[in-house]
Symmetry: C2
Subunit: 480 residues, 2 copies
């Protein structure tokens, strides 16, 4: 609103179009309030200036009613979606279920990433790291082994893949399980969603890290959970005085987003809490393959004697997020109902890609690939840490470097209230930077510094150095 | 129990093992009642003799308590699942959500098909019909076009696939929509599940065909729906006097399982009912590509002026059920919330297979393939009708032959109460036959004949002829 940032006209246009689409689509009812410009700015990674300008344009066009100091309202006269070419003339607003209404009223997160020239977005990988030839060969082999009869498969996934994963988890994580404890899912998001559906009723409490992975939070909120956020520090999530709850969500091997590793004593404390409360723990081990300086830490699941832990793994960080392959390792009491839920939800994961992954694990190519990308990402991490040290010195405090594919950079000279200004300026310069504050339960703590979640696995060393040099310039412009 | 059928020892062993697993997995609580032997027999496609023998064995081993005339109970002392090798010693029964409890108490349907020598199971395709080379080439091309950056995609699916599907639906079904009306899903089951989640709250009424596709029924029941089953006749689902409801589920182009085509007047009546009640209609067009004698019937969605219809399509019947690719065509008011739900549910469908399907549609190979398999399945259908006519004559009444990949054979001399005896005897002879009665809301109507849902798309002509000859023998043994 008052920041010195120039408007990003392209981003403003995108925001205007997105909100019009949402109004036309019935997401925002006439007369209802939109999320604040601050919330929009944090979630879209844009400056508030840009978002405020977009809101003003929408008000001028009659879509919104704005008033200083209040959240914008959708204009009351906008009941009907526009008529469209499909021949629909009187589309009525469809009533949604409680689940649908919770989803519709959540604040929007754009799913089409902006095409930044340099992008530190977390969770993305370099295309060149993908083992294209090995994957093509494995897919082709799987296609050639096509059976005489094409039929729906086991909802838990191919038995041979579950057997291969059982061995992989033992070798790589010291995790002992049976193949029948495993359910193959469409990426870890489906694992989270199945847990939310099967274990949470509206109003149930869920312990969650603060800050937390935003799509985990969304899955629990959509299920109607009441979140009990627990602050994260260098030892991971704080586990003293946890309230009773149905479920806890943790990322023990590399906290998303702060990067801490959950300490041994907190692991014991969390397991004891779960056993005492009859709660389940989701252990999202998404970054397990990437340990750099840290020694191996056994997963919670390997310490679990009470059958509390649901282990969640994925190949999104080792092969590609576009494959949509992950797996749950379930306690015995939950195997049958998760299999039933997977079947009613979408029958089973696609079989060709399951067969290709089986082949790569079985012939050792997957573990060779993991070692290769671990080394490669270690190089990227070293380049990032070097650039940060040389360019920014003690203007930033770095955390979460022991493991994973992202680090956290706290900006020492910049209060959290100016984080969106930083990321908005970066976006205007086609540099993708992502603030941490939107991942906190309360994104407006005045005592917190601005922080950036810096993902490096999709960039090469030169891009990393250039990106950090640009960050340096931006910070100087902001006086930090 | 009293039938003249010999016991199928292998099937009995499988039932015993499955029920033990379910008890150990906490699906059936100690003291709770199991479904009836009749329900088990119908759903597993086994004889009641076999199921009753399995229950008696479980009672002898102390798992069940049986009493003549009452449903079996799980023995009261069986609280704890067995300890297992994973190191879990005291797995406690996890509390499930209401959704989870509904799923856990549903009667089991085996998902591992039995390896019958001849199998008329519906919904399966011949491996030889799959365009292996074209699919491999398209997958390889997609893998080679891999982008510089691997990132999560649009939850609605690849824009180029949605554009290709838009054109395909217009050419093949006269259905006009926008690419942004389309959400790519993991097979039609996920489409059904998303509709159930977003539109149904527990206690909401859902109009459904009677008999109906069992996994549609399960998806709605798991969401807590109260079903309002409507009998199906030669004109499809009866639409006179439909009660108010939130949702209707129909298969207008080829009713599953009876095979009728929904008449034009009923289409209008159903659409008017939906507009009047603010209800949505799921049009599951799963068999749309297979018209034999019938002229083209436009989909409900093409007649919809009120934005009531959610159109559901799939490639499970044209390419393979193992690919898990389907698509929803949504009314404008539902586009945004379905996209959000897809994202929170599992981010998006796998992109490599989406890209391969895009290429096949865009270069015309998909439609050539559809013409080829339509012709091929027309040949199989002709062989089936010929065998039925020559072998069984008017001992059976055939329905639903105009379209699709299955027909319905009513056995004129056999009451519905003996249907499980027929399918059980067939299973003992390694012939897969599937009764229709389990798909009815009330599987025990004394006035109904036994009926078989005969799928033919995975068999060749010789197998079809042999299978019907065996059916002839079985019917003679049963005196029908």
């Amino acid at each position: 609103m008052t920041g010195p940032v120039e408007r990003d006209v392209g981003a403003q246009r995108r925001v205007v179009a997105a909100i019009k689409r949402e109004i036309a689509g019935g997401v925002h009812a006439p007369g209802s309030r939109l999320p604040s410009t601050r919330a929009f700015a944090a979630e879209w990674g844009l400056s508030r200036t840009t978002v405020t300008a977009a809101f003003e344009q929408l008000a001028a066009e009659g879509y919104l009613e704005t008033r200083p100091g209040a959240r914008a309202r959708v204009a009351a006269g906008l009941a009907q979606p526009e008529p469209r070419s499909g021949g629909l003339t009187t589309a009525r607003p469809t009533e949604l279920s409680a689940y649908g209404r919770r989803l519709a009223s959540a604040s929007p997160i754009p799913w089409t990433p902006q095409p930044f020239v340099l992008d530190f977005r977390y969770g993305e990988l370099a295309g060149g790291d993908f083992p294209t030839l090995a994957w093509r060969r494995a897919l082709a082999n799987a296609a050639m082994r096509r059976p005489a009869r094409l039929r729906y498969g086991d909802p838990r996934g191919l038995p041979e893949l579950r057997a291969a994963l059982q061995g992989y988890l033992w070798r790589s994580r010291g995790l002992h399980c049976e193949a029948d404890d495993i359910v193959v899912v469409n990426g870890s998001q489906q694992g989270l969603d199945l847990c939310a559906r099967l274990l949470i009723d509206p109003g149930d409490r869920v312990v969650i890290e603060d800050p937390a992975y935003h799509l985990a939070r969304q899955a629990f909120l959509a299920a109607g959970a009441e979140l009990a956020p627990q602050l994260v520090d260098r030892g991971g999530m704080q586990t003293g005085g946890l309230p009773p709850a149905r479920l806890a969500f943790v990322t023990p091997s590399h906290q998303m987003p702060l990067g801490s590793i959950l300490s041994a004593s907190r692991r014991q404390e969390l397991l004891a809490w779960a056993a005492r409360n009859g709660a389940s723990i989701i252990e999202d081990d998404y970054d397990a393959e990437y340990r750099h300086d840290a020694g191996p830490v056994p997963p919670l699941r390997a310490l679990d004697r009470a059958g509390s832990v649901i282990y969640l793994g994925t190949v999104s960080k080792t092969l590609s997020p576009t494959l949509r392959l992950g797996y749950l390792v379930l306690p015995p009491g939950l195997r049958e109902v998760f299999a039933r839920a997977k079947r009613v939800t979408d029958r089973h994961a696609p079989e060709l890609e399951q067969a290709a992954l089986t082949e790569l694990i079985a012939n050792g190519a997957y573990e060779r690939h993991v070692r290769r990308v671990r080394r490669r990402n270690g190089e990227r991490r070293a380049a990032l840490l070097k650039a940060l040290r040389e360019r920014l010195g003690n203007r930033v405090s770095i955390a979460g470097t022991d493991a994973g594919l992202h680090i956290l950079a706290w900006i020492n000279g910049l209060p959290q209230s100016r984080e969106a200004e930083l990321t908005g300026r970066a976006a205007a310069a086609s540099l993708g930077l992502y603030g941490v504050s939107g991942l906190y339960d309360r994104p407006d703590d005045p005592n917190r510094r601005a922080g950036l979640v810096i993902g490096y696995s999709a960039l090469d060393e030169a891009q990393i150095a250039t990106g950090i040099a640009r960050l340096d310039t931006l910070l100087r412009q902001l006086g930090a």
